[in-house]
């Protein structure tokens, strides 16, 4: 797995400590803690996982195990414009797979990765509750419906600068 080396600043470590403390530094709260920490940092690099492990007094291996088990958690920073492609049943049967392929081809990245300039990242999710608009793509908070592979270039064009 590709990794990004991060050096945590003191205020960032303090923030992690504060979050852990709000869960009484209990190992059993690991998932909740990681949820909050990812909410703050945007992703969970190794150094952040090590800090969480040491605060909750659980092995780093276990933290990493949880981070890699749940697809919600990510060790890579999301792009400035995170692209989420719905691959739930309704979207899937209406061609989400082809749309996803087109995004991957245009941006030259895989699912879970971020472009070199940090602008875009691709992830898949299951159902945003807009099945009538299938296939659905979200870029940041904006939702695009009935997306066809030919529309991908235009969608990306909206985020040129």
């Amino acid at each position: 797995m590709s990794r990004i080396k991060v050096e945590l600043r003191k205020d960032q470590i303090d923030k992690i400590k504060e979050i852990c403390k709000s869960f009484n530094n209990e190992g059993g709260e690991l998932i909740n803690v990681l949820h909050k920490v990812q909410g703050t940092f945007g992703y969970l690099p190794a150094e952040v996982q090590e800090a969480v492990a040491s605060e909750l007094n659980v092995p780093v291996a276990k933290v990493y195990g949880v981070v890699t088990f749940y697809s919600f958690f990510t060790m890579l920073p999301k792009g400035k414009n995170p692209i989420s492609i719905c691959t739930g049943t309704a979207c899937y049967v209406r061609g989400a797979e082809k749309v996803l392929e087109e995004f991957k081809k245009e941006l030259k990245i895989e699912v879970g990765e971020t472009t070199g300039d940090g602008k875009f990242s691709i992830s898949c999710l299951r159902c945003v509750g807009a099945c009538g608009l299938a296939p659905v793509v979200m870029v940041g908070d904006k939702t695009y419906g009935r997306v066809a592979p030919e529309m991908v270039k235009d969608i990306l064009g909206n985020y040129k600068d």
Binding site: M1, R3, K5, A46, E47, Q49, E50, A53, V58, P59, V60, A61, K62, V63, Y64, G65, T68, F69
Partner: protein
């Protein structure tokens, strides 16, 4: 507790509420096949993730099959353990497990001793469907100084994870990723060498497949034995002689000391020596250090570090070098017997037989995998040449003997060579939990009181309980002793030391269950702890049969001090027989 009555395979059985179907069946001598399940009752570990689904049974009135290892019984339950539906399900489960498992059984290190292989035989698997559509597992292989992780062969039973986390509290391993990608690995899937792994080898000891095995040094050994320019000598640890026979069909607890010596001699070792000799030496050094710290403490020296902790176990040394780095000056500085042996062999003995250090190959036979790493430590090398060249496990020795067409059963008994093969009963018991400290007491008591002991047995120090303590009367002074085996138990005693609450003067720690007799390099016990108990009995039996049972009375030890070392903790002893510990905690946080 309330009892529950149920029927299994038309037989009625009564068990306490909360019992699993698997255990209730066991009471009826019905052996349901299991794979991920592991019951180490004496260690209070019952691993029942219910993950592999091999142990499924049919329960009347229940739609789906139930995993018997993790399903509790209920009143009036009717269970069938071998209906057609059950047998079919087990077969399909097994076929699915095998579908992405490598098929290199012919050359796999675990072949013949593999739970997965044995189960495939038992379940009559003759072909594996779905192979063409199943993606084969392709995880990289990780080589460390002691342990090889070949994770293509991991079936996610997670037994290793339980040993590493619950029993040892080392925390090096966890299940990571999901689905077909899931394996058991260190954090960030780093190499074992960069993780907090102590190489205790308990993961290897419970792995049901070839996913976790020891680094094999037997081929290197054969090459060295065949090289006329080399003088190859061997030392054997006390726990080996109490377990090696099991690999040749002997009853657990059969002592094979003399047969083992003969086999080693026939394999071509020039001298067959005993690590026990070095264990006697360890007692001289460690016992003297204990008395030194104790007398300074009694004189009111505030800087003296008590309790003193034993330092024979390399898994334990790795553990505190990583997780208790604030206590590095607490353990004894005495090297382990393996390393003391190497240091003496490559100086004193090399001079004696007039062989150059680099032409002398010192091999050790150990019940341990951490010893393989210990040999390679820089502290134990002179100009890059290690004091002990390499260590092979009890299992590797058994393979080697079989490979040479020898049968241990028909071997005559022979004696170790002199001078480094002579040892006392105190040295033999190093192989069992409580043994090192009992050996130390046998010597330290006499040195402290100046009086000869009437009885050298200190049975209050023996046993299988994870944490034990005893008080020994040292001529009016009550010496308080703590003993732990298993690193999780050691952690409890260590936490007290760290908090300044420890009531002990001396603590003995061994990383493995039962001590070295339950080491990661021993014949596999497959979770049967009574085997370890029998090995322990064998160790004490050998002690009882020894004419000399106190280390300081070993005539060759006395001679070694007279001719070479001077006295315990002399400058020469410090140089050759003591060591220092290194803070390795950064390793845990370090990221590649």
């Amino acid at each position: 507790m309330e009892n529950i009555k149920l029927t299994i395979d038309n037989k009625i059985v009564e068990v306490p509420r909360g019992t699993t179907i698997y255990k209730a069946a066991k009471k009826l001598d019905i052996d349901i096949p299991v794979l991920c399940y592991m019951d180490l009752a004496d260690l209070n570990i019952e691993h029942k993730p219910g993950g592999c689904r091999i142990c499924v049974v049919e329960v009347e009135g229940r739609k789906t099959l139930a995993p018997s290892c993790s399903t509790e019984v209920s009143e009036g339950m009717v269970v069938k353990t071998h209906s057609i539906r059950v047998l079919n399900a087990r077969k399909i489960v097994m076929e699915l497990i095998l579908s992405d498992h490598p098929k290199d059984c012919l050359v796999c290190a675990k072949s013949g001793n593999c739970d997965l292989q044995n189960l495939a035989i038992k379940l009559g698997i003759r072909n594996i469907p779905n192979q063409d559509i199943a993606a084969m597992s392709t995880y990289r292989t990780d080589f460390s100084p002691s342990i090889i992780r070949e994770l293509d062969k991991c079936i996610m039973c997670r037994r290793c994870e339980t040993m590493c986390n619950e029993f040892q509290t080392v925390g090096a391993l966890s299940a990571v990723n999901r689905g077909f990608m899931s394996v058991v690995a260190p954090a960030f899937e780093m190499d074992l060498e960069d993780s907090p792994c102590t190489y205790c080898g308990q993961c290897v000891a419970v792995c049901p497949t070839g996913a976790l095995t020891e680094v094999d040094h037997t081929n290197q050994l054969i090459q060295d034995l065949a090289n006329p320019a080399k003088t190859v000598i061997v030392q054997t640890a006390p726990a080996v002689r109490a377990a090696l026979g099991e690999e040749f069909g002997m009853e657990p607890g059969t002592l094979v000391t003399g047969k083992m010596v003969t086999a080693l001699r026939q394999l071509g070792f020039k001298y067959v020596f005993d690590t026990d000799f070095a264990a006697d030496l360890t007692i001289m050094e460690e016992g003297t250090e204990l008395l030194d710290r104790l007398s300074r403490f009694l004189k009111g020296d505030k800087n003296v570090k008590l309790p003193i902790l034993t330092s024979c176990c390399p898994g334990w040394v790795n553990f505190f070098e990583q997780q208790f780095t604030d206590l590095l000056d607490v353990p004894s500085t005495a090297r382990s017997p393996q390393q003391m042996f190497g240091a003496i062999a490559k100086t004193y003995f090399a001079d004696l037989i007039k062989v150059k250090r680099e032409d002398l190959v010192v091999v050790s036979i150990m019940p341990c995998l951490a010893k393989k790493y210990e040999c390679q430590r820089d502290e134990f090398k002179v100009d890059g040449n290690p004091d002990v060249d390499y260590s092979i496990s009890t299992r590797e020795l058994a393979h080697l003997i079989k490979r040479a067409n020898m049968d241990l059963n028909s071997m005559p008994d022979e004696d170790f060579d002199k001078p480094l093969g002579e040892s006392t009963g105190a040295a033999v018991i190093f192989g069992a939990t409580g043994g090192v400290i009992e050996a130390a007491v046998r010597t330290a008591h006499e040195l402290y009181t100046g009086k000869e002991l009437e009885k050298v047995d200190f049975k209050q120090l023996r046993g299988m309980e994870g944490i034990r303590h005893a008080e020994i009367d040292f001529g009016g002074f009550p010496l308080k002793i703590g003993i732990a085996h298993g690193l999780g138990n050691a952690r409890k005693l260590l936490d007290d030391v760290r908090a300044g609450k420890s009531q002990f003067h001396a603590i003995e720690i061994m990383a493995c269950p039962g001590g070295c007799i339950g080491g990661g390099g021993q014949p596999l016990h497959h979770g049967n702890m009574s085997i370890i108990q029998k090995r322990m009995e064998a160790i004490y039996k050998e002690d009882l049969g020894k004419p000399i049972r106190q280390s300081h009375k070993n005539p060759y030890i006395v001679k070694l001090y007279e001719e070479f070392l001077g006295k315990p903790m002399s400058e020469k002893s410090h140089h050759l027989l003591h060591t220092h510990y290194v803070d390795k905690s950064k390793k845990i946080i370090f990221m590649k």
